[in-house]
């Protein structure tokens, strides 16, 4: 029985990951051959083998990656904490909703690229500016999704809670917050990839480390293989965080099969 189950699950893994891996291998082979046979200059399009070699040779790749992750992570965390608190206020107070929501929208309407130089003047070219940019760029999706989620709580349950004199925190933690979880996770997933964008864009301006710095350096020096390395690392981080939040969401929402899920 067990052996069969394992075989079945292995076959499932193969069916799931087999085709995309096969396609990837095919693309890499064609790419490699095309670059070699057509003698494409490496600054235009480096061969996959050259990019792979560059991976090993790039000094401090882990350091640059770690730094960018740190900036994005801190920005995201700050935004998540502030965003959840603000959403709790907005969802429960008509005054706060009317008073604050316009500014949340404005925070989204101003192009983030235009804010970076301003923050450089105020906060310098260090890590703080990057964290703040990552926080600003993630704020909107977190607040809007969380607020919508908190407001999605069943009005009848809210009536029930009020009819038995539930306190504000009781209503929030027993009804509103659990109702909002699928929305909060949807917001977090969007925010996670945006936080990376924010950190990298902030690093474009006068940074001397981080993946954004690596991208800019590689581009200005026409080191296209290095550019590919940075892009691949960024893509890998994006995919990993997306998967991680999907995993956390499934764990957190265990049992809530019936719950409405935002798309």
């Amino acid at each position: 029985m067990t052996a069969t189950a394992i075989t079945v699950s292995r076959r499932g893994q193969l069916e799931r990951f087999g085709p995309p891996l096969l396609i990837l291998a095919l693309i890499l082979v064609v790419w490699e051959l095309a670059v070699r046979l057509l003698e494409v200059p490496p600054w235009l399009l480096p061969a996959p083998s050259k990019i792979a070699l560059r991976f090993g040779r790039t000094q401090d790749l882990a350091y640059h990656t770690g730094l960018t992750l740190l900036e994005a992570g801190f920005g995201f965390a700050i935004s998540a904490v502030l965003g959840l608190a603000l959403s709790a206020g907005i969802a429960n107070s008509r005054f706060l909703e009317r008073g604050l929501f316009p500014y949340v929208i404005v925070s989204n309407a101003v192009p983030i690229i235009a804010i970076v130089p301003l923050l450089n003047i105020w906060l310098g070219f260090g890590i703080t500016t990057k964290i703040v940019i990552a926080a600003i760029i993630t704020f909107f999706p977190i607040v809007t999704n969380t607020t919508r989620g908190l407001k999605s709580a069943d009005a009848r349950i809210l009536d029930l809670m009020h009819s038995i004199n539930a306190t504000g925190p009781q209503v929030f933690f027993k009804v509103q917050l659990p109702s909002a979880l699928p929305f909060i996770f949807a917001g977090f997933r969007i925010a996670a990839s945006l936080s990376l964008v924010g950190a990298v864009v902030a690093e474009f301006y006068g940074a001397d480390r981080g993946l954004g710095y690596l991208v800019i350096t590689a581009a200005t020096q026409l080191r296209t293989d290095l550019l590919f390395v940075a892009i691949i690392v960024l893509a890998a981080i994006g995919v990993t965080t997306f998967w991680l939040f999907g995993f956390l969401e499934r764990r957190a929402l265990h049992g809530a099969v019936e719950q409405e899920r935002p798309r």
């Binding site: 038995i164 979880l181 049992g255």
Partner: protein
Amino acid sequence: MNLAAAAAVAAPPCISLRGVGVVFAARGRPVQALADATLDIAEGEFVALLGPTGCGKSTLLRLVSDLLRPTSGALSVRGAPAADARRRNDFGFVFQEAALLPWRTAHDNVRLPLEVVGYDETKRSGRCKELLASMGLADFGHSYPSELSGGMKQRVAIARALSWNPSILLMDEPFSALDEITKNQLQDELLRIWQREQKTILFVTHNISEAVYLADRVVVMSAQPGRIKEVIAVDLPRPRGPEVRDTIEFVEQVRDARRALMS
């Protein structure tokens, strides 16, 4: 006239409405949801509110439970403002389609009000199990709402409303989404509970025979504006069982109620 209706004349009423009106502002225009409602409900009485959609039946429940303040008129519960009764946790709510929390098991849904009203923590679990067992759900305590049928969910909702033993049950079309067989079963179960626990029940429905079968008195309402049209005392013996539905008296009472509703 049955006992409860007779007692209504002598004893002070459990719930008393005097010329109660409610006006909502819908899109800037005032809408009269309920007009000039006068009604006395005795302790332990089973009263059905019968009427079409938009006749203010649900509004009346929210008024009685102090979730809504009347725009005009006076409303009292046991001789005091409804807010006093709410502070004593006198009201148990049951809604259409159960309104359970999907992330909580049946057991934990029944437990929710106990966590709010300050029920002895060591006795909560025992109370939930006892109630689920009495509703024929002893084996389903660990099931999530998505794993239960409509009838089972509604049983959980009734158990939830009974959990802290409130003296007044407010039921808002609780069986209207159920199939005929399940509906009849739950009606009989509700009558048994009412007979056993001596609760005052306000039961909103748009089903004429359901109102007649369950109630001591049927309050017939009309829409636009919502108002009480007629109050019919149901003259059928207690305890009532399925055989009552086949009697001439039952058919006549249903006919009277229908005439009152259609007139």
